[in-house]
Amino acid sequence: MPDVQFADPARCTIFAHMLKSVIARSAPHDRFATIVITISGVSTTIEFVGERIVLREGIAARYDAALESDAATLASLARGGSLIVAWLRGRLRLRGNPLRLLPLLPLLRPRGPDKRP
């Protein structure tokens, strides 16, 4: 289980809360990368720093890769919707180093919880 933290727990968007949960379940890893995820216009920067993953509100000045979509598309991808179709329809936009986007793949296909609450 990766160590996932908010940079500032008093400034978390609802999407950052959801991303934190998805990351904790999906354990994506890239030793050192900064990735921006924008959901419905709300941006969260995810910093992979060794074993730690830090979520920060907003867009970092420098980042390696970025993904932009909306909550409905991401929720549909989480249930097995096609990434390619979403991308071709413009519902999923990717920018930056393609290799650095690889850690995002588990975020788009999150594992379910170990135990349902």
Partner: protein, 483 residues
């Protein structure tokens, strides 16, 4: 705590034991404490004795005894209303009706059930699922182990209130014990069987609805249940502007498509994810999460309802004010399993009741849905200005003829200064909501005291005459309304 009325005389306790059984009467400290307070900021007050009632036949002699002795009686079910309504402000007897928890009848053909007062939401759900899957019931947002009848008698709401109104509208008949010990049935049940409808007779059930236990003890009730459609969907829309989102909700309510339609402001989403006191919002974040439920037995009607809601959403979407959705609950759960708490009924919103401070209060009101677009932002701003998360729940009721506007506050019950701040906040919120035409439901006494001078004098006088006629000794749940 206020000074309780003493019920310490051994002969009175023995008389209660003779009626209810020796194990049913308690003066144990733990039992007295349990019924002294609730989630809210309302002052605690200790009863003198707790009597656990298991049979309707035990209620008349207990009330006759209490009347003869002039001992206050507070009927209690789950003791979980958010208005301090079951706190025995004058001490005396707490009549714990929760052991009377039988579902006595479910009539599938005429769609009603007869229940005792202690029947819980979860009990009804389990019972219908197991024995009558063709029927469904409406469920409140209260914990699954709280009671159906409490919500009916206090005019609460459920997830089917958009179609069938607040819970008092679901009651078709009551059987009650008057403070003087007589039993009475209401509705068509008083004349004949089955208790399928209230009319066409004078609506005497109104003598017990919203009276907060001040006019008698309801020991049995017939409540409507509904057909359970084969196809059901819950989906979410996310609006960035409160005013725009509530215009959307009103348009959907008017279209008569849905079973349920609710708007929750952004702090409630963050509380679901464990943030105890969210006060910061990114301006780009959704301000309001809307949930939309619809159902049908017919594939084409079902699909058409979803399309019709989306067509309405398109009318309200702009580049500056996106209204995102629909996101199906099934898809949302795949992304974030914690949404399970919003997925099925009854639901336990533990983030509201199981937090370190333990306090939960609200100003819950009914009023005109046309005022939501102004009222929700105004109440939210007030809560933020006082340092509390602007957690607001809204629900369209009975076709959108009226709606719920509920400002929810979690607080630390162990911090007297915070309790004072909460009391001040609630009074300010009530004033603001009142200015938009919203009246507090499950009305706490502090609200009655605050607005007494504005209430129609004829209403107050008639209520007092009815109270005196039914409860001449004034024993029933003193301290409620004007009594």
């Amino acid at each position: 705590m206020s000074a309780p009325v003493a019920v310490t005389r051994g002969d009175l306790l023995r008389a209660l034991e003779r009626i209810a059984g020796p194990g049913a009467v308690s003066v144990a400290e733990g039992d007295l404490l349990r019924f002294s307070s609730d989630y809210t900021e309302n002052p605690a007050s200790r009863p003198a004795v707790v009597v656990r009632v298991t049979l309707a036949d035990q209620v008349p002699p207990i009330l006759r005894l209490a009347q003869a002795e002039g001992t206050p009686v507070t009927p209690v079910l789950a003791a979980s209303n958010v208005g301090g309504l079951c706190i025995p402000t004058s001490g005396g007897i707490v009549l714990d009706l929760s052991p009377m928890n039988r579902i006595l009848e479910v009539n599938e053909a005429d769609r009603f059930m007869v229940i005792e007062p202690g029947v819980t939401w979860q009990q009804v759900r389990d019972y219908l699922d197991a024995r009558h899957p063709g029927l469904r019931f409406g469920y409140s947002l209260s914990p699954p182990d709280t009671t159906v009848l409490g919500n009916c008698l206090l005019d609460g709401l459920t997830n089917l209130s958009l179609r069938w109104g607040s819970m008092s509208d679901w009651l078709t008949a009551l059987e009650a014990v008057l403070p003087t010990g007589e039993r009475v049935r209401t509705g068509a049940w008083a004349w004949s069987q089955p208790p399928a409808c209230r009319g066409p007779v004078p609506g005497l059930e109104g003598l017990f609805i919203n009276w907060q236990g001040a006019t008698g003890v309801v020991v049995k009730a017939a409540v409507a249940v509904q057909h359970n459609p084969a196809l059901r969907e819950r989906c979410f829309y996310f609006g960035r502007s409160a005013a725009q989102t509530f215009r959307f909700i009103n348009a959907v309510a008017r279209a008569d498509l849905c079973d349920d339609l609710a708007g929750l402001t952004w702090p409630l989403g963050k509380m679901l994810f464990g943030e105890a006191r969210p006060t910061w919002r990114d301006p780009a974040e959704p301000a309001v999460m809307v949930f939309v439920d619809y159902s049908s037995d017919d594939d084409e009607v079902f699909a058409a309802k979803g399309r019709a809601v989306e067509r309405i959403a398109r009318r309200f979407r702009t580049a500056d004010e996106p209204l995102e959705g629909p996101v199906s609950i099934t898809n949302l759960l795949a992304l974030e399993p914690r949404f399970i708490k919003f997925a099925d009924w009854p639901m336990r919103l533990d983030f509201m009741v199981d937090h370190p401070g333990g306090g939960l209060t609200w100003v819950g009101t009914y009023g005109p849905t046309s005022r939501w677009p102004e009222a929700v932002p105004a109440c939210s701003e007030l809560m933020s200005a006082r340092g509390f998360p602007p957690a607001v729940v809204t629900r369209a009721m009975r076709g959108g003829h009226f709606g719920v506007l509920r400002m929810v506050t979690l607080f630390n019950k162990r911090d007297p200064a915070e309790i004072d701040r909460v009391r001040t906040l609630n009074a300010e919120i009530a004033d603001l909501a009142w200015s938009f035409g919203f009246i507090p439901y499950k009305t706490p006494r502090w609200v009655v005291d605050r607005y007494r001078h504005r209430v129609d004098p004829g209403f107050a006088a008639l209520a007092e005459r009815v109270k005196r006629a039914l409860d001449p000794a004034g024993i029933m749940n003193p301290g409620r309304w004007f009594f």
